[in-house]
Symmetry: C2
Subunit: 324 residues, 2 copies
Amino acid sequence: MSGEFDLIERHFRRPATNGQDAVLLGIGDDCALLRTQPGQQLAISSDMLVEGRHFLPGTDPARLGHKALAVNLSDLAAMGARPLGFTLALSLPEIDDAWLAGFSQGLRALANEHGCPLVGGDTTRGPLNICITVFGEVAHGQALRRDAAQPGDDIWISGRTGEARLALEALLGHEWARQAACDQLPTLRQRLEAPQPRLALGRALAGLAHAAIDLSDGLVGDLGHILGRSGRGARLDTGQMPVAPALARLPPDRRWQCLLAGGDDYELLFTAATVHRERVEQAARITGTPVTRIGEITSVPGLVIVDAHGQTLQGRFGGYDHFG
Amino acid sequence: MSGEFDLIERHFRRPATNGQDAVLLGIGDDCALLRTQPGQQLAISSDMLVEGRHFLPGTDPARLGHKALAVNLSDLAAMGARPLGFTLALSLPEIDDAWLAGFSQGLRALANEHGCPLVGGDTTRGPLNICITVFGEVAHGQALRRDAAQPGDDIWISGRTGEARLALEALLGHEWARQAACDQLPTLRQRLEAPQPRLALGRALAGLAHAAIDLSDGLVGDLGHILGRSGRGARLDTGQMPVAPALARLPPDRRWQCLLAGGDDYELLFTAATVHRERVEQAARITGTPVTRIGEITSVPGLVIVDAHGQTLQGRFGGYDHFG
């Protein structure tokens, strides 16, 4: 951690603690010091957000602070891990106190909500770039890995997909999206700019579900990661998928693009044995998270997507590529 | 970790292991999974490098890969920690295979040397930005913290300072620096572009030295961090400081600027009780690292810098500010 820390000190420094006293040393030394509990593994994820690619120029800084941490917490959720803390590396074109105040406020509110303090980082001058690395812990052998899907598993999703993409298309000025969004744009925009990481559900699924992933690039693309790493296939029954009212107003091809390849959903996609349906539904109830069964894992590789009438759905749903 | 991982996969993916099998799960899932040994604390540092600020445009990519990891490993060294692994988040203006091959080669060579595998990260398109977060472990209570300097402690440095700064000034075309660098520029440039983190020394000092910091922003500025956090002062005897031949050719004011406020040295500055002088020198011998006593910690706050004749040295040596 470099010496340009006055900025971080001024805007970000707060007593760095969480419920379990995992943080032994926070901001201000060469390293932060954390301790994990016996029997726990450390889960780590790092994401970089660039203006114009991951967020629109002029995005409200508080929402940006929220989102930058949320996308990382979502990765912890997808492993079934409990947050311990995070580091922030920030490159800024200029020192803008109002922007920093908003950004740090949004970041801190979400960090406090999930007991995940800022423990260190770096600031420098340069094009706007936000890199967060988050640390969590999960009991040995209970992490929800992408390679653990089993044939016959149910495929579940939390919440519903597609609203963030519809909001993005509307904000980019596309008429079809603006018409469908209609008076719901503020709510849809909330889904795009202030996603809620599914941490409580993820922890409740640790040791219960088999495989899990968080939906950042689009449902089909992300499911593909599970299938690829597990060496399995899947049948996806889109007739079961929950559809937000605004998406129901879209023509079918647009609707499927948003639902299946929208990106930025930050919901959990997970697989679990059919014998555990009740336990999954109980985990969902206890954590207040809606979940829906939308398909099953098959032993033969390949993905079959069918509509409500059992007809195979045509189209490319490869997801959103941040290097596209 | 996002879905644009083909890049990382292609250039960076290797079996992620280190000597102690700390890595349970590497690149390719929502999170990496690490395990720390019982009785160990986790040390974490994150640094962001931006083109034009931390390195010159056109810097050899292999050296840049080396340096990006080296500055983070140097933070682990300054805590007395042993490396476990690191994450890389990389923003690139375009996919340049030759650049990526060089960068990953430089990164991997240093990572392998220190048993510190890449365990995950993120890639995206954007202005060139390199953010590395490194993880290490150090025995409970043995970390070398900035706040632990005691009155009467000797102040030590490893190696010598100022060469990286002289190289930078010469590369920027300043005549005074080019004349002093003379035929030594390749060696000096090595100090700037390929610093060697003092990990072996740092580990040998854990539980022996009191306070430590790595010299990234300049000796006086970095010593100031120890003094500030320890609530102590210091007397620095510049007559004791090792001076590289090229720096000896500089006029005194330039020489002191390079030695005391040069930055990018990545040497360790540490304090230890006078009774431990022999043990410190033994640690230095065992790890093959030159060390020099250059002053002492005082109970009265403030920094007094004297020359070889005991005269107080005038000048501002505040170090290099990456947000300046």
